[in-house]
């Protein structure tokens, strides 16, 4: 009987030792913060031959995915004009410019600018920059608006990330880092 008493004691002691082996971080702490996000995409269009005519558009979602909806302001363009365009990606939460990261990895990224049906015949976007393999990137582009009546539509902007399947300049990737729609008004 004495032997079993010892065993009971050993059992109890082992339980207590294991119970003490808790994690160094307690679940009572809320834990580290949120993942890095892109909060803002800025577009700047400058009229060719008239650098004082600058048009901007913005897609901004300061609280990241979910939560409140993004705030989107569109372009107002003039018929019969051509603009040179630039795009800027920011994480305003961390005060970080993500455009540079895309620039550094240009051979694995490509922007796609696709005007919707309402303005497809009026707006042409041409990518003017290339990566090391002479394939388009899309950080720089021109927007040409043909002459005609006033119309509204939108443009779809996608940033494709090429990881396994290599970038060929035309095929979309299965992994879109950005996929947003920006309204366009043509006066």
């Amino acid at each position: 009987m004495k032997f079993t008493h010892i065993l009971k004691f050993v059992f109890l002691a082992a339980v207590l030792v294991l119970a003490g082996c808790e994690s160094s971080v307690e679940p009572e702490d809320p834990g580290p913060g949120e993942e890095e996000v892109i909060t803002t995409v800025n577009f700047t269009l400058t009229e060719v031959g008239n650098t004082s005519n600058v048009v901007t558009a913005q897609w901004r979602d300061l609280d990241g995915e979910g939560g409140s909806d993004p705030v989107i302001s569109g372009f107002t363009l003039e018929a019969g004009k051509t603009y040179t365009g630039a795009i800027e990606l920011l994480n305003e939460e961390e005060n970080e410019d993500i455009t540079e990261e895309v620039e550094e990895e240009a051979d694995e990224h490509q922007f796609f600018y696709t005007p919707d049906a309402a303005i497809a015949s009026r707006v042409t976007v041409t990518i003017t920059d290339t990566d090391g393999n002479n394939l388009p990137v899309g950080l720089e582009y021109t927007v040409t608006v043909s002459a005609g009546a006033a119309v509204t539509g939108s443009i779809n902007v996608v940033l494709g990330h090429y990881d396994d399947a290599p970038k060929d300049g035309t095929t979309r990737s299965d992994e879109s880092d950005i996929d947003i729609d920006i309204p366009i008004t043509i006066n």
Binding site: L18, G20, S23, P27, D29, E36, G66, D164, S176
Partner: protein, 785 residues
Amino acid sequence: MRIVQCRHAVVWVGLTLGCILSGWQPLQAGIAEQDETAILSGVVQDAESGEPIVGVVLAVKDSPYGTTTDKDGYFRLDLKMQNEFSLQVTMLGYNSLERQIFLDGDSVVNLKLKSAPVEGSEVTVEDERDVVRESTQSITVLDEVQLQRTRGQTFSETLKEVPGVTVLQTGPSIAKPVIRGLHSDRIVIVNAGVQQEGQQWGSEHAPALDPFEAARIEVLRGAAGVQYGSKAIGGVIRVSPQEAPESGGVRGNLNLNGFSNNRHGASALSLQGTVPQIAGLGWRVQGSLRKAGDSSAPDYVLSNTGFAEQNGSVTLGLKRQDHRFTGYLSLFSTDLAIFRGSHIGNLSDLQRAIERGRPAFEREFTYEIDTPKQSIRHVLASLNYKWQIPTAGVLEVQYGWQKNNRQEFDSHRRFSSEPPTEAAFALELTSHSVESSFKHLPWKNIYGKFGVSAIRQGNVKQTTGYLIPNFRSYDVGAFLIERWSARKLTLEFGGRFDYRWIKAFPLIDRLFQERRHSYSNVSGVLGMIYAFDESFSFGINLGSGWRAPGVNELYSDGVHHGSAQFELGNADLQTEKSVTADLTLNYETDAAHAQLSFYRNQMNDYIYLFPEADPVLTIRGAFPAFSYQQTDARLTGFDGFAEYQFLSWYRLGVSGSLVRGDDQGRNEPLIFMPADRFKLTHQFHLPDAGRLWTENHLHLTTQMVARQDRFPEGIDYADPPAGYTLWHLDFDGQLSIAERPLNISFSVQNIFNSSYRDYLSRFRYYVDDPGRTIILRLQIPFGSH
């Protein structure tokens, strides 16, 4: 703060144990000794041929009682109704058998002895028939022989053989068992007596269990809340590792497996023995390694689908008179590559991948485990104490400690091609559990068990990625289950009360905020078994179960990895309740064996993802939004098998399962219910090749799976895939070149290399399931016995 918490745990662990160890002392004296006798009878047969065996010696261990079988293999023993006792069965030329029997009335126990080709070894073979018979619920037992046929495969795949069980697959490396259409948090997995805890809510989170370690697996279908507490809504899977031996020298087993498709190699070594200096002390150590590269579908390589797994365990058992202590420690570690093509940006990317119908990128076969991947470590330690109190019953106390670490790595960091060095998210879940039960001696014709259990959990996220919040939870429960037995009829009834308390730190309005919830519920069971005769019986079971909403269901907020859907938690969820009615018919004679179950599982406040009207607009595009909501749902179905020995060398088996899931609130089918399936097996017993090759069996299996035609319209991205038929061929036999025979098996799975996609394969949107594989398995026993 931390010290206070720890002391908390110590106090309640101490209290529980204290109550258990001291509190039951008076009870022991309170129960009077039983003087009634009962008849234990049965037939002993040859396990292979089914012939009765004459002259088998049956002896009650540590007692003068015993008998031998007559010319029909029949025996009869008049025994005092007493505490659990051991019946030893020995016969020259056969493996001896030892059975634990709890005599609570006249009983019939039929035994099968396996012939010992070399010399009698002390192998304990448990008769699965009794487990199945004694349960009023639908249950299937996989013993060592059956498990041997699937060695090397994932834990869930070994369960595919069980009627009513299907597998939810995320590529070739990740599989989860689905019992009668339910999985994840609706199923309880018990390993070495401890409820396995490891982020099971995720449909791509496979159970962290070493498939080589299981010596026996029991699958209980339907709600079993009384015995297993919360979460046991869909069923229970009990995994029992081999126990430490009580006698014998050092001996062991070496398992070697090879799979051609993904060039998967697996090996497992187990050793066991006793310590001669310390009476009753036995030990067992076991380790396994599995490594696989990319799998291939018939038409292409499934890039990045390999895995590497290392597991080990140690068991120590000490038996002194009426006391038995078991200590168990297991370590599980795996790295699982996830198919590259499943890393999808947004919904339109997914639609493009579906339209393409094959991977956009294909690499050469490699063992390389690239990102995306998962790394999982699981440690389980358990201590078990069993005391057979001669005049009262059996007291059991169990303590379990588990730590589950899960890391998931994304393809790459956003905007960078560098493989990530840090996990996209990492979670550490620590669980302590204490359970104690007391199985009392029969009083009149009633015997049963009551007990208490408690679990304390803490979840900590270790990276910036938010998937589920940190939380601390406590669960306590108490149950009673009793049986009344007469000659042909057994009745069962039981009840349980559970309470759960949780404190979580979800991200609300961009800030971590503390939220508390508590849930409680009562579960019950009513069952009966009626045995018409020795071979035909039926059981009826009415069981209930419940589940508190999981922390993911309460507080998810984001795009779920690879599924291109935005999941929104719902903090107002209530508990989910289920009642299963199950009718099981069991028929077993020498030539035939059949088990058929019909069931209806009524679930109230069933928690599921309900599609929201508006998508969530994010920088990565628009994602369809789903929120966790509750409805009433019903699962009805049937599963079972039938086998018949037509000729001494030919046996035909059929098995099938059918599930119908309905969302009663919306009056439409439930999504992701397994398709109807049916299996036909021809088993041939091949002649021996001298004394060299014996026990030769050939199985030809046809697996037919129908298309799932019942699904809710307009929710899924692609319609269910077509039905399919697969053919498999398996050969197994024993090769006697050494002192102890080698078990050899050779299989070809998916003989015709058919392309197919299963409805419950999560990658069915983009790729086919893996094609043909050729499997070689060797089991080499060694050592003294």
